[in-house]
C-alpha cells in the first residue's frame, strides 16, 4: 500500500466483515508531539484473545481461499519502521479497536493519501453501516457523521448522482478546511 488511507480502507473492510453496525475512523496529526495517530473502532463480532495475538502474523487468516492475511502485519511493520506501534483491542460480541501511530515527520512515513476518496466509497458501498470519520490537526477537528445526512435524505439512495456530489464535496471541503486552519497559524 502506498497510502495510509488505503490501510484505513483495508482495516475498515475487516470491520464490515465483522458485521459492524457502527464504525468510527479517526486520523489525528499532532504537530507538537510529532505523532500521527489513526484508529478504526467497530461494534462487530470481535475476536478472542488468542485470535488477537495471531492477527499480526502474516500467515494467519480467517480466509478460506488462501493462507496469507497481510493487511494488519504490513500496517504494523509500517508503523514500527516509523518509531510507532500498532495495538489491537477486542471483545467477542462487542467489537474491535485498532490503533496505529507513527512519528509524523519520519522519513519513511508513507503519505496519508486521498482520505475523501477513501471515506466516500466506504460510506456509499456499505450504506447500512453508521460511519463516523474524524480528522484533526492539533486542535482543529472535522467530523463527518453520516447519520444526520441519511436522516435528511430520508430514503434517497447515496448513489443518487447529486448525493454523491454532495458527499464528495462535503468530505473534501471539511478536510481542506482543517489543513487551511492549521497552515494559517
Amino acid at each position: 500500500m502506498r497510502e495510509l488511507a488505503l490501510h484505513l480502507l483495508d482495516i475498515a473492510e475487516n470491520s464490515i466483515s465483522a458485521r459492524a453496525k457502527n464504525i468510527i475512523i479517526e486520523v489525528a496529526e499532532n504537530t507538537k508531539t510529532d505523532r500521527l495517530h489513526m484508529s478504526v473502532q467497530d461494534d462487530g463480532i470481535g475476536m478472542d484473545a488468542e485470535t488477537v495475538s495471531r492477527v499480526v502474523d502474516p500467515f494467519f487468516t480467517t480466509r478460506t481461499t488462501r493462507k496469507v492475511g497481510l493487511g494488519i502485519p504490513l500496517l504494523k511493520a509500517a508503523a514500527e519502521a516509523c518509531n510507532g506501534y500498532l495495538r489491537l483491542e477486542s471483545t467477542p460480541g462487542h467489537g474491535t479497536r485498532l490503533d496505529v501511530e507513527f512519528q509524523n515527520s519520519h522519513i519513511d512515513r508513507m503519505p496519508l493519501g486521498d482520505l475523501p476518496g477513501t471515506i466516500l466509497p466506504l460510506v456509499v458501498g456499505s450504506p447500512n453501516v453508521h460511519w463516523v470519520f474524524k480528522y484533526s490537526i492539533d486542535n482543529h477537528t472535522f467530523v463527518f457523521d453520516d447519520e444526520p445526512i441519511k436522516k435528511e435524505l430520508d430514503g434517497i439512495s447515496l448513489t443518487e448522482p447529486d448525493v454523491l456530489a454532495f458527499l464528495r464535496d462535503y468530505l473534501k471541503e471539511g478536510i481542506t478546511d482543517i489543513k487551511i486552519k492549521q497552515s494559517l497559524l
Binding site: 488505503l6 492475511g69 466509497p121 434517497i156 439512495s157 447529486d162 448525493v163 454532495f166 471539511g174
Partner: protein, 122 residues
C-alpha cells in the same frame, strides 16, 4: 467565503432527487460490486470504485447500487468488478482499471452489452 457544505444544501439535493424520481421511467435496479479485499486494495480497487462513482455522478445515472465485497479468491485478477442487472446473470470482470471500469459502465451498465474481453471465465 466559507464554502462549507451544510445540511441546507442537502435539503436541496433531496428535493432535486425527488423531482427527478417523479420525472423518469424506472429501468430496473443495477448492482455493481467491487472487490475490496487487501489484494484488491493493493491492486487499485479504490481507484476503480472512484471511477465508477464519478461516472454515475457525471452521467447522472439513476437506480445504481454500488457495493463492496471481500476477497473472492481471484487474487491475480484483482481489481474485480461484478455487474448484476435484471435481465442478465452476474458478470465478473477482472483486472479492472479505472479506464476499463468506465468502458464497462458505458457498454454494459448503460448499453446492456457485456464487455467480453475483460470477463473472467468460469
Amino acid at each position: 467565503m466559507d464554502k462549507v457544505k451544510s445540511l441546507e444544501d442537502l435539503k436541496r439535493v433531496r428535493e432535486e432527487a425527488l423531482k427527478k424520481r417523479q420525472a423518469k421511467v424506472v429501468t430496473g435496479q443495477k448492482e455493481i460490486i467491487v472487490g475490496m479485499g487487501t489484494v484488491g486494495i493493493a491492486a487499485g480497487a479504490r481507484e476503480t470504485l472512484k471511477a465508477i462513482l464519478d461516472y454515475i455522478e457525471k452521467e447522472n445515472l439513476p437506480d445504481i447500487v454500488v457495493r463492496q465485497t471481500g476477497n473472492i479468491g481471484l487474487d491475480s485478477l484483482e481489481p474485480i468488478v461484478q455487474v448484476v442487472t435484471v435481465d442478465q446473470p452476474k458478470v465478473t470482470y477482472g483486472k479492472v482499471t479505472p479506464d476499463i471500469a468506465r468502458q464497462i459502465m458505458h457498454d454494459h451498465v448503460v448499453g446492456g452489452k457485456v464487455v467480453k474481453e475483460y470477463v473472467v471465465e468460469g
